[in-house]
Amino acid sequence: MPDTTLTSDRSHDEPSPGQYDDAAGYYTLGDPIVDTKAPQGPIADRWQTRKFEARLVNPANRRKLSIIIVGTGLAGGAAAATLGEAGYNVKSFCYQDSARRAHSIAAQGGINAAKNYKEDGDSVHRLFYDTVKGGDYRSRESNVYRLAEVSVNIIDQCVAQGVPFAREYGGLLDNRSFGGVQVSRTFYARGQTGQQLLIGAYQAMQRQVAAGTVEEFTRHEMLEVIVADGRARGIIARNMVTGEIETHLADVVVLASGGYGNVFFLSTNAMGSNVTAAWRAHRKGAYMANPCYTQIHPTCIPVSGDHQSKLTLMSESLRNDGRIWVPKKKEDCTKDPRDIPEEDRDYYLERIYPSFGNLVPRDIASRQAKNMCDEGRGVGPMVGDFRRGVYLDFKDAIERLGEDAVREKYDNLFDMYERITGENPYEVPMRIYPAVHYVMGGLWVDYDLQSTIPGLFVTGEANFSDHGANRLGASALMQGLADGYFVLPHTIRDYLADGPFDKIDESHEAVVEARKSVEDRIQKFLSINGTRSVDSYHKELGHIMWEYCGMERTAEGLRKAIDMIRELKADFWSNLKVLGSADTLNQSLEKAGRVADFIELGELMCIDALNRRESCGGHFRAESQTEDGEALRHDDEFAYVAAWEFTEGDEPPILHKEDLVYTAIEMKQRSYK
């Protein structure tokens, strides 16, 4: 079995990157982060140690403590259900009309767990190993081990809630395998696993709403975090129906507000997914970690034109049976794929990576698809100067398994594809192209999931800690539920053991300041009265980000992007046009706030990408590659988490480095050949 090679074995004649600092002048260096609060000792004992050491809050005292949770996806919904059940007073916020609509619902493929039901060599340690390796050794070892450890409980919990996972004929749970791994450890509910898991968490949460421990605030958007006397003590939210600006105070605040892939405008995220909750916290002192780590998903339906508002991915599980290819000859690219004989097809993943084939991790599958299209061997309609698509072909699977079996496995995915493209994938190969899907960057948290603002906890995709520079398939659902059901409830009780904290009210200076800044911002958006719509700014930002901070990046491109974003920002604040008023439902106003934050985030992402002169995970720095064009990491220079501190005015952001130390696993250069 091929495996990874030691980094010291790598052969490249490039000079050490140590002599470069591409981002010089764009940042200042701050103190390193030395303590992540992870317990010491053998890795398998750390979480048990932490749980035992975390102080308890007795049931009578829990009633006196209040928790705000922003977001109702897998992380936020699960946390609200669990903490409500424990007896705390929980207030839950989401911008959607119902907690059931959080974007976790759209995850298709499955959720990993080290159950080893197939007896194929899986274990907690192997799930841990695969996840760290798949994350290109840029995640935190202690966190990932904990994730693998509690993965087993997640499945038990979900089954107990009535999540209808796929079953075998004997009534036991079925598994399949996913990109980047060689065991079958992924539990699934056809192509709608995220939906079923989310409904499970949502129902558990609604049970607590009925019990009176959780109070829901739907159609509410968090616009500011209140930091009083050094602690997060509440939020300012806008009631999106009445426009009322509300103050909500609590002993602790949890952000479970999801990822920021919509900074690219086109992504697989929901239209409303945004960075505002996280970015407002960042501006208040929470560090933003590895913001440039974006996962590009390889199996997305290609863009069809300029009108496109979002992208739809096809579950990665399709790569289990679908074979990916492009024509060998450029002149065949416009032909009907069924007329291209076998010998003229290039099954490039099977050719380049024979042991993993079509199941290579997402970053590799994505980059190779891009390479094929850049070579001029892409298929489908011309978009710009390129045909941006490769074939995902089920012909062999249909011959091998029969159409009925394929239909049973992937039915809804095939229907969805046909609906969007107007082509029948049982007859013509699907076309796919990479798209922005998930972000591994997010607010910096310690082992307890606490940010650099005391009392502000961050879970799920909104934090940075578990996925490194790339996320393996079926690991996001695992992290969301692990954080919400099993991690946060233990770590937050240790924090709350010091509570209840001194009462504060709306007259507190921190509350007044936070409210005022929200109100001023809203008034500003409505009063600019320029000529350009919010969406036009969002699209332009997205183009810049995809072009210069997407799958492949160069120092020169990133510097250019930073200049362009700064210009765009100035134009936004002087030429934006938002109609309507603040005291009703106003979707343009909502978007204006989100896009303003995306613009600032975009600039930081480019600075982070400029600093990281190495190729790893989802991002490829053209300056750092092996002789045969594979991604080249520089562990000697960049084995750190880049945690950025916000600075006011024109001061450059401050970079704090947290060294990534591996004691239970050896850092190796990834290879899937």
């Binding site: 059931r100 009108h307 309507g580």
Partner: protein
């Protein structure tokens, strides 16, 4: 394509509301219905008229947020969600009427946006399995026959969009209710609360102002997830059994 759109505009819940006519041009067949509305909204914004408020989020047919009556049909002429409806389903020169969900239990908030909070309250009344976090038994300790698991899954795919209610002349949410009753009732984990669940959920359904089911079947015909009509039979059967046993 060039289209004439007749769209319901209503400033807020108190406003009476009326249909307004707009023209759009240059619509491509590959656009989704909502992308077509995005084009219209850009046009309105440029002309100084406030864009039309409508709900959408995932735009991939799974979150259940989008909710438009298109020519009198929930989600329009195809069996799908509005976000997955594409303009190739319409003809050049057509006039399309777009309204919000129609049901007294779904009050209009603004333009095409309605309040579906009643669905959450129905779930709160019993649409869950009471399993506390952290003490669940080993997942494979309770086998679930494959056909039961499949049936549970097939009805658990309800996205809670409310099309069934909007389609029903009675404004009944029986399909939504039946889907949840059937999902949880098929599984061994759902048995202990089965009879109380159905009584409580039906009670909440009626309290919210949804109408009764008279077996018209428009709900199942409009359901983008093809939840079958027989979940309502299951609902009625469970309700009868529960009543018989004094729940």
């Amino acid at each position: 394509m060039n289209l004439t759109l007749r769209i319901w505009r209503q400033a807020d819940a108190a406003d009476r509301g009326s249909l307004h006519t707009y023209e759009v041009s240059g619509i491509s067949q590959d656009m989704s219905f909502l992308e077509m509305l995005d084009v219209l909204n850009e046009q309105l914004n440029a002309n100084g008229e406030e864009p039309i408020a409508f709900d959408s989020d995932c735009r991939e047919g799974i979150c259940g947020t989008c909710s438009l009556m298109i020519n009198g049909e929930p989600h329009g002429p195809e069996v799908t969600t509005t976000c997955q409806l594409h303009m190739r389903s319409f003809k050049d020169g057509e006039t399309i009427t777009i309204e919000p969900w129609r049901a007294s239990a779904f009050p209009v908030i603004k333009d095409l946006v309605v309040d579906r909070g009643a669905f959450d309250r129905i779930i709160q009344s019993g649409g869950f399995i009471s399993a506390n976090t952290g003490s669940a038994p080993e997942a494979n300790s309770v086998p679930v026959p494959r056909d039961k698991a499949m049936r549970a899954f097939n009805v658990a795919t309800c996205i809670g969009c409310g099309a069934c209610v909007a389609a029903c002349p009675n404004g009944s949410a029986s399909l939504f209710l039946g889907a949840k009753i059937t999902h949880l009732g098929e599984l061994p984990q759902g048995q202990p609360e089965r009879w109380d669940r159905v009584v409580d959920m039906v009670g909440q359904h009626d309290y919210e102002g949804f109408g009764g089911c008279t077996n018209i079947g428009e709900c199942a015909a409009a359901c983008p997830k093809e939840i079958p009509l027989d979940v309502i039979s299951q609902l009625n059967k469970d309700l009868r059994t529960a009543m018989k046993h004094g729940h």
